[in-house]
Symmetry: C2
Subunit: 310 residues, 2 copies
């Protein structure tokens, strides 16, 4: 009878915080990846680092209200470069240089605080709670305004020499290609990043109407609009070239797509797969897979919490 009460696999709980430029998403997550409670608020990244941190603290306070479970720690996923708990120069955060959020929060909350970049967190979420249950080696891509990447090798996030690995968006697929803020002309991001794509293809896109955005193209593709379908075909080709490079180099066979643009995968899947089949080496081209993330919307908070739950 006692065994029922002393279950060795005791459930643990962590707070996961997904710090974005516009919103902060946060949640209490259990070790199985179940979200018990969540809270979302504005990031106010255009005001000051102090204001952003206040907003994170507001999330933590809201989540802890009437929470009966003991919290093991706080995990935070943040944009930009993260090393040793310090968030460095996150893009589009006004006045933010280097903030040691780990030190600050561990002092304030007496709870272990772990910080990683948002792409690694999303990859970790996929590894623990998504397709990663089945695949031990994959690249997780966030297809959105930017193109983020997280590499999972042998069941672990690969971080590189200075925690900066996975910059798939900064790999060139055409050295004569369009410019990219990252300084690497013809990089994957200069083709696949939302605004880059809209800019590069504006001639075709203008034929669809005025002020057309990515969602509009997707809606038109659903209605079988030929121009919209052709545009997604291009998107699939560029993604296919980039993924072929990854598969060939790494001898890895799985890619998982997240981010807003992955919702349109049905429209660029065929061309993407066709391109990889055509370009990849013999041992790869019959065996790879490109999948949509199962946990896309919650990947940020789940991955941040997983930093602690791991």
């Amino acid at each position: 009878m006692i065994t029922l009460e002393t279950n060795p696999k005791k459930q643990t709980y962590a707070i996961g915080i997904d710090l974005g430029g516009t919103y902060i998403k946060s949640a209490v997550v259990d070790s199985k990846g179940k979200i018990l409670k969540h809270y979302k608020t504005e990031a106010y990244s255009n005001i000051s680092p102090k204001k952003v941190i206040e907003q994170i603290e507001k999330c933590i306070a809201e989540l802890r209200k009437r929470m009966k479970h003991e919290i093991s720690g706080i995990g935070i996923g943040a944009p930009g470069i993260v090393t040793h708990g310090i968030i460095k120069y996150p893009p589009n955060f006004k006045g933010w240089k280097e903030v040691n959020i780990k030190k600050q929060f561990e002092k304030k909350y007496k709870l272990e605080t772990l910080v990683d970049n948002d792409a690694n967190c999303a990859g970790l979420a996929e590894l623990r709670f998504g397709h990663g249950k089945k695949y031990n080696n994959f690249i997780f891509l966030t297809l959105g305004t930017g193109i983020g990447g997280a590499m999972v090798l042998n069941g672990e996030i690969y971080r590189g020499e200075q925690n900066g690995a996975g910059e798939f968006g900064m790999t060139t697929i055409n050295f004569d290609g369009p410019k990219c803020l990252g300084g690497n002309p013809g990089a994957v991001e200069a083709y696949l990043g939302r605004n880059y794509f809209l800019e590069n293809e504006k001639e075709e896109i203008n034929k669809l109407g005025k002020e057309i955005d990515f969602d509009d193209i997707q809606k038109l593709a659903k209605k079988k609009n030929k121009i919209a379908l052709e545009l997604f075909k291009k998107y699939g080709f560029y993604l296919g070239v980039g993924l072929t490079n990854y598969f060939n180099l790494m001898d890895v066979r799985t890619a998982i797509l997240g981010g807003g643009i992955s919702n349109a995968y049905e429209f660029f899947k065929d061309e993407c797969v066709k391109t990889i089949k055509k370009r990849s080496i013999k041992t790869i081209n019959g065996t790879f897979r490109v999948l949509r993330s199962k946990i896309n919307n919650d990947a940020g908070v789940l991955g941040a919490a997983a930093l602690i739950l791991d």
Copy 2:
């Protein structure tokens, strides 16, 4: 006194065999990477697998003649795909499908036999006996007819899911670029492989004279011939684009160059380094290094022996 005779760091010795399409190089190597004896013979890869194996056995017999040290095992580096001691379809080896050389040799010689692909062996040699003493993360490139790559991550050869990792030559830097036997247009090899380069640049090369090969261009560059120097500048640019992709993706900062073409590095270094500085992400571009291998000519046999000495 006794301590002098029972040195705990007992020296071990291995045979290393570098199986090439034209020659087989072989050596007895000690655990410090010193070559005690070497032997080179023709591979006869254009005749039959049986003949090639006879030639390897001839090497082993020659090396063991009057060898007073005990041999711990046989390491073999081979072209093509190698898994579990089986050499599969090495390019340009007539009639060779799949040969389990490990099984065959362990039965015959009663010595542990380990087989890996030649690029990994060269990388392993560099790791144990070359620049790898200083750097724990690097890519080793063989610049020759083909472009081979070996990835060292955290002090170990990274092999990928099916021992096929490191195909740097099969990563595209321009999807509209020249064709490549590997089926991946605009791949690094289609720019940097010896014959590809000579073909792509033939218009300029023809200005230098008739039947000009890579060595001739190098000789002319030494004499400050402008066309030759411009050709190497192009070579450096392509290499720089490829390496930027690697550095950005992997957050690794070291590349080591081997293979025949690396002997001309002085002529393409500046453009290569300039290109990486221009294209790599902020955290990389002041901190990377591209080095020539110190052990280039012996890398094959040293790495093959290191399979055993490890």
